[in-house]
Symmetry: C2
Subunit: 500 residues, 2 copies
């Protein structure tokens, strides 16, 4: 039986799916923060069941007819409803593209490979990873083929589309080519310039967890994180979870180095503010979800890299750091702290990379994952290709695979097509922050006084509140006057690292 | 399409419902402990959706045929599977008895009345509660009628059956008549006796929350609470939530009186140990659930009232209390602490009542709720009837309705038929503890040394591990040699309060 108003029926169903998925998001957060370890199998059963429930709602037999009939009446829908219907169809195509056995094979392959990866990384034993990683690649190819057929795009684009709807290789190739044209040269210049300024003074610990927590909470309050709709907790791997009305940030504390937790909190805060700013009336429908990983990563990087590593913010934060840990002296002056937080140096580990070298790490992964999926690189040859690429792009060769091709969980966990969104997000962050500063000339001065309201209001209006009403480029164009490009990022790096 | 093996198909479906309900249990726990207040509407939507999802699985159109076909093949099932099928049918009858609009009306009426109750209690204004409470009673009557028809029992029994499957008025009337024959008289004797022993020395605070928490955790470890499968947290209203593999106790701390939190933790620990001890192979099927509220309450009261207010445990605990708070002196000697924890005195508030007067509070509520549901007492006359009953049963009259008929949330929240299970649980606790002591003669001596293993092992075998494989009386008879009665409770009170 099909409803009289197919669009209204779709809203009802997608609202239900959203509620089930939001329940799952809280349970996932709990698993990483609160759950006693003995409950992991119980929790896995709960989460798997909720996934199946949501999946069955999506692939209900009458869904194609409902979607088609709603699309026939699309002319009568306003902008948000029309966009919502488009997102419903998009979500349905993704979910419906995979037969149930492939969904299960995918979960099973990545679970097995993740387990093997933890051991392989620990033991610097890439060979031990090969069997399960081969299986992940095979399943990923089947997924990619199924989605490529459903979406009518090439295989890699189909995988990328899961993370960044509308994301396409051709765009990435062009953007990455631009980056490659100046980044390696710029890296040399920046390093030379930084070396010329003499040594940076280290901030010596220990930094008690309690003081770090207080400082993190103070900074979250400063930025505008709403604790009536969110929390800060501890987990082994920091993340932002929960729902738009209930954003949950996690971090981990290192008593020798408070910057990791603090910068991590500021980074996750950017993600959380995006979620919290999603359109209030639509956040439980597809059109009210975050646009994709490019804009999501742009929001975390905008907060961490653009705003909070700016000298204006460091001027505000340095005295608060001194107060939090009861320290003083030249190392704790804003100038030194800023140098510490903007130091550039090639390293082996992506997650520890500065913003100049980070895109080079991503280009390597993008190049390699496309080669593997395209059949141009055998998995057995991955370590060698990795090391060659590191030499070419960053000028250094990892001494072990542990700090080389085994460092990231993404390939073992099946997130092929994900890596490029990090750097696209960095480009978007620079572009968005530049536009915000232009639109609101006193913005940096406000941040220097610990007032993030001008930034936050601009982001709410121009990015967060848009949800998925338009595509990434359309939102960026409306907000910044241009589609995603490298110019703002380049200008940002030149200004921060080569001019002052 | 009906499966070839209808019983196996039912197990699959009830396993799924269990997973959805377990997910809801964790989300409920989170709501009371972790959730930022701004997320309450979001969470309500998640929980309502999970309820609907589980409900729709239960009332699926092919369920009656599945149940019937499985019941036809019941002869081939072993004891657990046959009992599981019986529980499936029982759960289905309850869930299927109510049309969707009545389920919704019930939720709506109790939500509205709960809100009104909070105000009415604060303002000592019973009249303000009347309109919403009338609606709750009307809806409860409709629910009771529907379930009475489905179960083939009288209306009150049908309501009671939701909390205590198989529970019947006739049994309660007989048991309560026995209690009434000796409790009021005993109360006078006990008070006289306690007064004759001179004043009890108070334990003076303040008691810092941190020290109380450490003491509570120490006692939970002592009793055998498994922190790899559970947690202790804080909530406004203490409860035990979560799942059998993930038991979550909450408490609240009063810096002037540590006994409330400590005794609350011991009480909830009894509930949690029951859940944690449910049969490992069946805990995600109906037959592996706790038997009902009578045995559940018996387990919390056994731990709090029977074991932990016993002098043997106080001898163990008193030195640890002194150490926890850095105190000493006569008030902190085990003898005085034990007198404090076993002091008997009629009071207005049920939840603060000692174990001698508690059943009298319950008898009052049971009498009144039956009269209201039977049409023999108008809601408008409830305050007067309450006060008359207090005078008769406890010899005191509450000065306000706030500490009278407005004190409990149960009627406003729609839990009509729930109250008697508290006292049936107290009877069962005494009976079970007596049997455990008889079966394991060194049990009290072990508890005196902080070793709860003999008690816990006996409970696991004789109560917890039985799940719902049999009825309450059958489990009690197997464990204690008799169906539920008042003899052990009476003997316990005589021994604790009139002999030593």
């Amino acid at each position: 039986m099909i409803a009289n108003d197919p669009y209204a029926e779709l809203e009802r169903r997608f609202g239900r799916m959203s509620a089930v998925n939001r329940a799952g998001a809280i349970l996932n957060w709990d698993r990483s923060t609160m759950m006693p370890q003995g409950a992991s199998e119980d929790r896995a059963d709960q989460l798997a069941t909720l996934s199946v429930v949501a999946h069955e709602m999506m692939v209900a037999p009458d869904m194609p007819e409902l979607l088609s009939r709603a699309e026939e009446g699309k002319g009568a829908l306003d902008r948000w409803r029309a966009a919502n219907l488009r997102e419903m169809r998009h979500n349905w195509v993704h979910e419906n593209a995979l037969p149930a056995d492939l969904v299960e094979a995918r979960t099973r392959a990545s679970s097995a490979c993740e387990m093997a990866w933890r051991e392989a990384r620990k033991n610097d034993d890439f060979k031990a990873l090969l069997p399960t990683l081969t299986e992940v690649v095979n399943v990923t190819l089947r997924v990619g083929e199924a989605k490529a057929a459903a979406l009518g795009v090439p295989l890699y684009d189909a995988l990328l589309d899961e993370f960044e709807p509308g994301g396409r290789c051709a765009r990435i190739d062009a953007l990455f080519a631009e980056l490659k044209s100046f980044l390696p040269g710029m890296l040399g210049q920046v390093m030379e310039r930084q070396a010329g300024k003499g040594p940076i003074l280290p901030l010596d610990g220990p930094f008690p967890v309690e003081a770090q927590t207080r400082l993190g909470l103070e900074m979250l309050h400063t930025i505008g994180f709403d604790f009536t709709h969110g929390r800060l907790d501890v987990s082994a791997h920091p993340f932002t979870g929960g729902t738009a009305d209930d954003t949950r940030i996690t971090t981990r504390y290192d008593e020798d180095d408070f910057a990791r937790a603090l910068m991590g909190v500021l980074h996750e805060c950017g993600h959380a503010l995006y979620e919290a700013g999603l359109p209030r009336d639509w956040r439980r429908q597809p059109v009210g979800n975050a646009r994709g990983m490019v804009l999501h990563e742009s929001q975390s990087l905008l907060m961490e890299m653009q705003a909070c590593r700016d000298r204006a913010f460091i001027d505000f934060a340095a005295p608060r750091m001194r107060a939090a840990f009861g320290r003083s002296g030249p190392a704790w002056e804003a100038g030194n702290v800023h140098r510490l937080y903007t130091a550039v140096k090639p390293g082996f580990i992506r997650v520890d990379a500065d913003e100049v070298t980070y895109p080079l790490h991503i280009m390597l992964r993008y190049r390699l994952e496309r080669a593997v999926l395209g059949g141009d690189l055998k998995l057995a040859d991955l370590p060698g290709a990795w090391n060659d690429g590191m030499k070419e792009l960053l000028g250094i060769v990892p001494p072990t695979d542990t700090v080389g091709c085994l460092q990231d969980i993404h390939w073992p966990d099946g997130s092929w097509g994900y890596f490029p969104t990090y750097t696209l997000g960095a480009l978007a962050a620079a572009q968005i922050f530049a536009a915000a500063k232009e639109a609101s000339p006193g913005l940096l001065a406000s941040i220097g006084k610990g007032d993030f309201a001008p930034l936050l209001i601009w982001l709410r209006t121009n990015i967060h509140g848009k949800g998925s009403v338009a595509g990434t480029d359309e939102i960026l164009t409306e907000a910044t006057g241009a589609a995603l490009g490298t110019a703002a990022f380049k200008a940002h790096l030149e200004s921060r690292y080569l001019s002052a």
